[in-house]
């Protein structure tokens, strides 16, 4: 029987371990600390793909936000039919008279066939509207997903069971078909047939319906994460000190969940951009006079045999944006969760 006898070393004073640790703050000054967030930021900055994609994404957001400003400086707007006002811009077949879709010093990206609107400003406003809708949807989806997922995971039992079944149903639901099938019906209930549907109503209902379907995957993912986290000892430690469930969820668990939330959100946003554009193309959601990526592609699809440039601008910009955002999402994941590496 050997009682441990290290007491001669007076371990509470100075040990190797302590002196090694106290050597560091001499340079770091103790108060400076490498939080998990800061470490992730350092890793992210080293990822070249991520940084470039981030710049591309920021460029798109700035372009969208500043669209009215840019349009003002540029001196055109997306609604005036320049081609109709100035017959020299369109030829007899109502295609742009100039080469490359009428690209010129006045109309940088050309004009659209038939109406002769300015493609550059139309595209700017399209980016603005698309990003507005998808960003709002992403935020709402993340919010509801987080709240529902955390609650279900933490409370468990019957709550978890019912939320789980709702998620199952939502995931099995054919979203696109629902949109195409019920959208017109829904709108006729809200708007009388003889008046035009206001754009704000379309935007709001679009965001609402996409959110209603979108929260399920995030909620399910977070529920699983919470199930794993809530058995950890630091949660028990908080319970022992008398923490309320709300405090445990928001102060103890949520900070540990920012990683999956951020990753999911960055991957969800480009998905909503494409979904929204797809719906607009199918005639659901935003429609012609309102600028939108999907609306542009839909318009262009009528003319691309005669005028490919008109299709090129919305198509290429959207591809660039979605690819950049997805790459950004990957980099964010790699930075936040280095162990998940590919």
């Amino acid at each position: 029987m050997t009682p441990p006898t290290p007491s001669q070393a007076t371990p509470l004073e100075v040990t190797d371990e302590d002196s090694a640790a106290s050597a560091k703050p001499a340079t770091l000054k103790g108060t400076e600390s490498r939080s998990p967030g800061r470490l992730a930021w350092t890793r992210f900055k080293r990822d070249r793909t991520g940084v470039i994609s981030a710049f591309v994404v920021i460029f798109f957001f700035v372009a969208g936000i500043c669209a009215p400003l840019i349009a003002k400086v540029y001196g055109k707007d997306p609604y005036t039919t320049y081609g109709q006002n100035d017959p020299s811009l369109l030829n007899d077949f109502s295609y742009p008279a100039g080469p490359n879709g009428g690209m010129s010093g006045d109309f940088w990206f050309g004009i659209d066939p038939q109406l002769g609107r300015d493609v550059f400003t139309f595209l700017l406003y399209a980016i603005r509207n698309s990003l507005l809708i998808s960003a709002a949807t992403t935020l709402l989806v993340a919010f509801f997903g987080v709240v529902i997922g955390l609650t279900a995971g933490y409370l468990g039992g019957k709550t978890d069971y019912f939320v789980g079944r709702i998620i199952d149903i939502l995931l099995a639901f054919p979203q696109t078909l629902f949109f195409i099938g019920f959208w017109p019906v829904m709108l006729t209930i809200l708007v009388s047939p003889d008046e035009a549907t206001p754009t704000w109503l379309i935007v709001v209902s679009l965001i609402t319906v996409m959110t209603a379907f979108g929260w399920a995957p995030i909620a399910r993912l977070l529920r699983g994460e919470v199930l794993a986290l809530r058995e950890r000892e630091f949660v028990e430690a908080a319970k022992v000190t008398g923490a309320s469930p709300a405090r445990i969820i928001f102060k103890e668990l949520l900070p540990n969940l920012w990683t999956p939330i951020l990753i999911q959100a960055t991957l969800a946003l480009p998905a909503y951009v494409t979904i929204e554009a797809g719906l607009a193309f199918l005639g659901v959601g935003l429609s012609d006079p309102t600028p939108d990526w999907g609306v542009m592609v839909q318009n262009a699809s009528k003319f691309y045999q005669g005028d490919i440039t008109y299709m090129l601008f919305p198509g290429v910009t959207m591809v660039i944006f979605v690819v950049a955002f997805n790459l950004l999402g990957d980099s964010v994941r790699d930075a936040l969760d280095p162990k998940a590496g590919r």
Binding site: P3, E17, G30, S35, F234, A243
Partner: protein, 347 residues
Amino acid sequence: MSNTTPLLDVSGLTKHFPIKGGFPIRRTVGAVQAVDGLDFQVAEGESLGLVGESGCGKSTTGRLITRLMEPTGGKITYRGQDITHAGRKELAPIRSEIQMIFQDPYASLNPRQTVGKIISGPMEINDINPEGGREKRVRELLEIVGLNPEHFNRFPHEFSGGQRQRIGVARALALQPKLIVADEPVSALDVSIQAQVVNLLQKVQRELGIAFVFIAHDLAIVRHFSQRVAVMYLGKIVEIADREDLYENPRHPYTRALLSAVPEATVDEEPRERIRLAGDVPSPINPPSGCRFRTRCWKATEKCATEAPPLVQVEGNKPGHLTACHYPETTETVPAPRLSKDPEAAA
């Protein structure tokens, strides 16, 4: 033990985990009898060691005392107040007095909070505003546990296992508790660090007069740390006694077997006889009838299978030395009292 009301009084404490099964309707088909009728007291400032093999219900007991789990039966009384089924609101005033130190220093600290936030969290929850602010108190606590107070703003991942465990100790001390349940506080640490942390806990216990329920499977550490020791087997206490008494005069065969398994540190003495227990610990889902140890006991008879031995002061025991055995070991059968530091005490 004193005659005054003990700090913590546990009687008949039981925890059964239901096993659900069956299809299509799920129902309870059995129960894991993790803890089955524990009786013990902890006096103020006293340290009670709780030893036993893996799966004998030590940790469950700790979590029942701190009310992280709901007991199935029995009674837990803290300073005369029944807290067996108290809700979160009723427990609030007691929460600050019973704290816990956890086994895994890597899981027991929130990786997203700074050390300062981790240690001041309990004060924030219980709305305690110490003189000079919480930050000052956190620095004091860091100093008490032997860490640099400048590490206030650091994150747990910047510390080693031993340092993390010290942070855990500081958090437990933040509320100035009267009782700390330490659930294997050193078993996840390197041997070289274990002693440091145990000595820290001992310093804390002596200087601040905090009572401990010290859960461990390492007999040497329990002996170093606890004034009284309870030995558990399959959810029951088989023997409880003062430290010297238990280590020098173990009466239960299981205690003897455990003590004989402690490795020797002296080379020049003859090797001691080791009792090797045959077989595994029986399943707590379906524990043996009568004495739970009988399936592995070399003394077991018919009586052991039919009659569960009560935890009593068997003949030849000092007061406070309780043993649950029909055929307790006698002093003569104990191999040379090499377990003692003082040979005369064993006589």
